[in-house]
């Protein structure tokens, strides 16, 4: 202490620094306590362009519900998860937000979401049967519903009709065998080392999981506590896709394609597995909005089409910390009416979750969206665990690349994959054994 000044000085310093630290906090508190009034304000976080476009729908809601105000904040998709988790840690959540439906389990695990079963049973507007079964299921975690589907997506194949016709496929392929056969024919027909049949980049995990599910793989076993990638079902599907890399039916690296739309237009590949968000861009680049030169088709299954694809999209979730839950529910109900869903489609191109909306001619007659309707009948959720994203992004993509480049055989890669997955899931096993 001696070199540090005398006691009185120390206390003085503490008081002073304490004051310096506290002052802004006090100002902050004073600032916050001001906003009290009879109007309830609920905060909504929307992601990407949805967060921007939803503002168009708000005035109508506020007109119908004079006592409620909705404050919208936009978060970019790339930062969304990080922002949500750190806000949760700081106890600073909005009342509700949209959540990619594969993220729902993670936030259930954090105990951040309010179960909605009670609200649903009392509601006249929101019922399970109004939605596609596979999509609704993505929001059900450990027996409770935590989200209401807002808009939906799934993956299917965008393809070049003109190229298909040139190699003798007037109809899209109906099974795995035809898909491979078609791809070989396209590469043969193009006869150009810079032209491929299909784009299956190893940094997109979805196709690998889709084909695994089609082959009856359960992906993870024992209540999703161990990887099941090295089981024969998954390995067979995995090998099937790696075959496309081995035979050079798909480009190897991911750096060659800087713009998928341009590459599609220039016949760099003739097929691409992707979701509905790409329709407008493809229309623009192909200069064809009637479906002459290109189209969409459900993903062929192993033996018949359509095969299974992923249940994707965004759900509306309510946070436990919200202080105005009835108002939040009103807003969710408002966003789930047919009228609002159609309006939302018009401004964002996001496909409505409500099945009745699909009776409209804009979906029925659209050559590109029709196939999505077919595919939505065959969608499945991915395992509903918090670690899912880590498993597919950090492990599956890594081992898919190793296998595609021939550093490992498909069997070896999937064995290593399971080892890695089992390490990731160690905590989950511990949690399950404890609770």
């Amino acid at each position: 202490m001696s070199s540090y000044g005398k006691q009185g000085g120390l206390i003085n310093r503490l008081v002073l620094t304490g004051g310096l630290v506290l002052l802004p906090l006090i100002l902050l508190l004073v600032g916050c306590s001001k906003q009290e009034s009879s109007v309830k304000e609920i905060s909504f976080w929307g992601m990407g362009s949805e967060g921007e476009k939803i503002k168009i729908l708000i005035p109508e809601f506020e007109k119908q519900n004079p006592g409620i105000k909705v404050k919208v904040q936009m978060i970019p998709w790339t930062a969304a998860q990080e922002k949500l988790i750190s806000s949760f840690a700081a106890d600073n959540m909005p009342d509700l937000c949209q959540l990619g439906n594969t993220w729902v389990p993670q936030f259930v695990m954090l105990d951040a979401l309010e179960p909605l079963d009670d609200f649903i049973s009392k509601s006249s507007k929101i019922k399970a049967e109004n939605y596609f079964t596979g999509i609704w299921q993505t929001n059900e975690v450990t027996g409770k519903i935590y989200g209401i589907p807002w808009y939906i997506d799934t993956r299917l194949i965008y393809y070049r009709k003109d190229i298909f016709k040139k190699v003798g496929y007037d109809e899209p392929p109906k099974n795995w065998e035809e898909l491979l056969d078609l791809s070989r024919k396209i590469v043969k027909y193009q006869n150009d080392p810079n032209k491929y049949a299909i784009y299956l980049p190893t940094n997109e995990w979805a196709p690998f999981v889709i084909f695994g599910l089609q082959n009856g793989s359960d992906i993870l076993r024992d209540n999703w506590t161990y990887g099941n990638f090295s089981a024969p079902e998954f390995v067979e599907a995995f090998k099937y896709l790696i075959q496309f890399h081995k035979e050079r039916l798909t480009p190897m690296g991911v750096s060659q394609v800087t713009n998928v739309y341009q590459a599609f237009e220039q016949e760099f590949f003739a097929m691409y597995i992707s979701g509905p968000w790409n329709i407008p861009e493809f229309k623009k680049w192909m200069k064809d909005s009637t479906g002459e030169k290109w189209g969409t088709m459900p993903i062929p299954g192993k033996h018949s089409s359509p095969g299974v694809s992923l249940a994707g999209g965004s759900s509306l979730v309510m946070f436990k910390s919200s202080k105005s839950k009835p108002e939040v529910w009103k807003f969710i109900e408002f966003l789930s009416t047919k009228k609002t869903q159609l309006e939302f489609y018009k401004v964002t191109n996001n496909l409505p979750a409500l099945r009745s909306a699909w009776d409209e001619p804009i979906f029925r007659d659209d050559p590109f969206i029709k196939s999505f309707y077919e595919q939505f009948q065959y969608v499945m959720p991915t395992p509903k665990i918090a670690e899912w994203e880590q498993i597919v992004f950090s492990k599956l993509q890594q081992y898919a690349e190793y296998a595609a480049r021939g550093t490992m055989t498909a069997e070896e890669a999937m064995k290593e994959m399971d080892k890695g997955v089992d390490i990731i899931l160690e905590k989950r096993r511990w949690m399950i054994s404890r609770y």
């Binding site: 000085g9 003085n12 310093r13 310096l20 690296g253 750096s255």
Partner: protein, 290 residues
């Protein structure tokens, strides 16, 4: 003893350092012995003290060794080259023969202050295998197309070239300052004695620059061990994890997958490596002086 006003003035800075540096570092150190992760963020009872488990797991993890090798590859190759380039550029710009020095200094310093996100977009085009400027240039000397960022062999050299280009200007400025401190008389005297250019460089410039060089070497090494932004933006660590650096790996584990315990363990391993590197350099320098 009496009240020393110096503490009063130091208090805000010390508080800030304590709150924003020491507390986080100490908690990170403690966290590295736990399995603190996304479950624990939700509920603090859901984490375990796991002792040295994270460190065992780390040394058992091939990806960690890969990241470590990549980082050393990057530091060992691009460190010396970048210092040499900086020194070369500094000597040219310090020469009396060069005109418009201010403009050149500005041009060479520009990459340092340009945001990497903007730079990386341009460089991604330069490196593009089909339409890239670099492959176009190489085609004149008969070199076949190289998939710079897509080939696991060339991806790290691509990152090295980019980061040397991006960073050499900073060290160059420091070297220029060092060069301007060397008295002109030394060179004049040497010239009268008949020393040639190379002798003047090795016998005057280098020894006189030694303190500057030590500083730059240490700063550069510390900076390069923390390689992150370049691979994060350009390659995301790929292809085949050939550009995965330690810090990128730490970032992915910590902020993408929320394995904070594991990620903290990586951070402390990196800390030990950098500390060791710095101590070795200082020891070498001391021995040379002695």
């Amino acid at each position: 003893m009496k009240f020393k006003p110096v503490y009063f003035f130091l208090a805000p800075a010390l508080t800030a350092i304590f709150v924003f540096f020491f507390i986080p570092v100490i908690s990170a150190f403690i966290i590295s012995f736990t399995d603190f992760d996304i479950y624990a963020i939700g509920d603090y009872s859901k984490f375990r003290f796991t002792g040295l488990d994270n460190y065992y797991k780390l040394f058992d993890n091939q990806l960690f060794w890969k990241a470590l090798t990549n980082t050393f590859y990057f530091v060992i190759i691009s460190g010396p080259i970048s210092i040499a380039v900086s020194l070369g550029a500094a000597m040219i710009l310090n020469s009396k023969l060069v005109k418009f020095k201010g403009i050149f200094r500005l041009v060479y310093f520009m990459p340092v202050v340009t945001t990497l996100v903007a730079v990386s977009i341009v460089w991604r085009f330069i490196y593009h295998p089909e339409f890239g400027l670099l492959n176009y240039g190489l085609s004149f000397v008969g070199i076949e197309k190289i998939d710079w960022l897509g080939d696991p062999f060339w991806s790290m050299p691509s990152i090295i070239i980019l980061s040397i280009w991006k960073n050499f200007g900073y060290n160059m400025i420091i070297f220029i300052a060092g060069l301007q401190n060397i008295p002109e008389e030394l060179y004049e005297a040497a010239q009268i004695e008949g020393a040639n250019g190379w002798q003047r460089f090795t016998k005057i410039t280098l020894p006189m620059l030694a303190p500057t060089t030590v500083f730059i070497t240490i700063i550069t090494m510390i900076g390069y061990f923390q390689l992150f932004a370049e691979p994060y933006i350009m390659t995301q660590g790929g292809p085949l994890d050939s550009t995965l650096s330690i810090v990128l790996y730490m970032y992915q584990e910590g902020f993408r997958w929320w394995n904070m315990g594991y990620s903290s363990a990586i951070a402390f391993v990196l800390f030990v490596i950098i500390l060791a590197g710095t101590l070795i350099q200082m020891w070498v320098q001391k021995r040379r002086e002695a």
